[in-house]
Amino acid sequence: MKFGRTLLVAIPYTWLLVFFLIPFGIVLKISFSDIALAIPPYTPTLKDGFWQMLSGLDLENYAFIGAGAVFAVFAVLVISVAMFQIVYPRVRRALIPDARYGVFDSAAAALTTLAVALVNVALIVALVSFLFPVLKSFVDIPDFLYFAAYLSSLKIAIISTFLTLLIGYPIAYGMARAAEHWRPTLLMLVILPFWTSFLIRVYAWIGILSTEGYLNQLLLSIGIISEPLAILNTPVAVYIGIVYTYLPFMVLPIYAALEKMDDSLVEAAEDLGCTTLSAFWLVTAPLSKPGVIAGCFLVFIPTLGEFVIPSLLGGSNTVMIGKVLWEEFFNNRDWPVASAVAVILLLILIIPIVLFQRNQEEAEQ
């Protein structure tokens, strides 16, 4: 019995150690080594003892991609968003005194909630665009490509998460309000694209967005535009692609939160004099918050390292870190720098991953 249990634990444990943890160790190790024109194209630096290893760590790759600057920007972002989150509840409380729920208050609630989301997005995007030239003129980073790629991935991930929320929330809300016998079908309709090939769903948009694509044909034939729009190979195409492919990840957690919700709460709010809109902002919106947060993380985290969408829809104008890593590895064959890029991406992702897990744990309680 005891032996059986140990064996049961040991098999998947060993598998994950060998194929998940050890490979990361190797990435970490190679990120500290030098590029060499050999196969494999790096020179190991960690073959001596632990202390030699520490003293001989080669930080060149990290300096090369501007790791310090990336972290500086990231720290500023995290701190400013945190500050804003502390200021925001006070503003909200000042705007919506808890005692009254008139038309004015529901509008104020709606505006502040939207404003929070918008200000957060705008704050980050502005900081990213502002910090970039400042750092570029003050800090000496050998190659700004990587730094720019981290920042632009961050910007694209944040904006597209926000857009996915804007589109996904009404769908989830509509699903949760639909008649009971319709809901399994609607749920299936949202899940089905999730099972369909990601690559094919991104590919479908090439035909729609290209210069002679279906969208341009339609708009030209209606007469809205006189010249075809160039959407493919621009960031706009990347936003469309991300919103489209990640929409189920946003809809499903929000739907789960809304579906669980007790309808009598909304009714009670309305009986107590709330308008439909203020009942939504004061009851439904706060109760769906865990779903919204989960959905945002589920979109944001994978988008940050996305490769397929920017390389198929974004053209050469859109730089994202996943694409840079890929090209560094397959085209330039610079494995140490590719590894360093991966390590930093992972370090950046640790914060949202930890926050996501905490949100899940809170939601379960």
Binding site: V9, Y244, W335
Partner: protein, 271 residues
Amino acid sequence: MRRFSWFNATSLTFGFAFLYLPMLMLIIYSFNESRLVTVWAGFSTKWYGELMQNEAFLDAAWVTIKVAFWSSTLATILGTMAAYIMVRAGRFRGRGLFSGMIYAPLVMPEVITGLSLLLFFIAVDVDRGILTIVLAHTTFAMCYVSVVVTSRLVSFDNSLEEAALDLGCTPFDAFRSVTLPIIMPAVISGWLLAFTLSLDDLVIATFTSGPSSTTLPIKIFSAVRLGVTPEINALSTIMILLVTVGVISASLISRSLAIKAKADERKAEQQ
């Protein structure tokens, strides 16, 4: 009472149109006579015929199915074990690390997983090919399987298993004849999920495949980079239809299983 307003109706209509129109266009234009993919020139199934002649695509499809079958089967076994450990094994040394390793691949960017596995395979000097893709896919798919199976294990009554143990079953027998039948729907959907994840994966497969083992997504990706072609439209249509049929039949089966289980329970209560 739930109210269904015009607002909900429009948001659902637009939402589902957004989700399904692109795929619908793809399917419609796969039956286009013309090679120019955006100009409709009459109905034809010739691109399907040409696809069937294309040896490279057929080979890649065969490799993909083999990889998906083996990796999803392995992932289901390992993932079910992992889920069982997380729910039933109680405390053991390194449990925190284990749960971290189970959940991390779910959110890890694919480029990082792919890169680390490739560097690992090179470090231990394994030739890249079907085997390495199977190992890589098993590793990330087992985490999805374990999440699916965990949610089922948590929700069912532990006392059934304990009763079997009290009545003299060995732990393995108790698992096989009591626990496994109960969690079977989750195990099957975990297998299906692992299978589609493997069919779908481009990034990790590109990193871990060798020159002789090109999978379908790798093939599609290199063709798609050059633009839209009717053959790819035809291939996409076949894949979309297969997945649709698979998902709908799986959900019908699981629904009828659930109804049957409920009926059995009622019968057991009456006795």
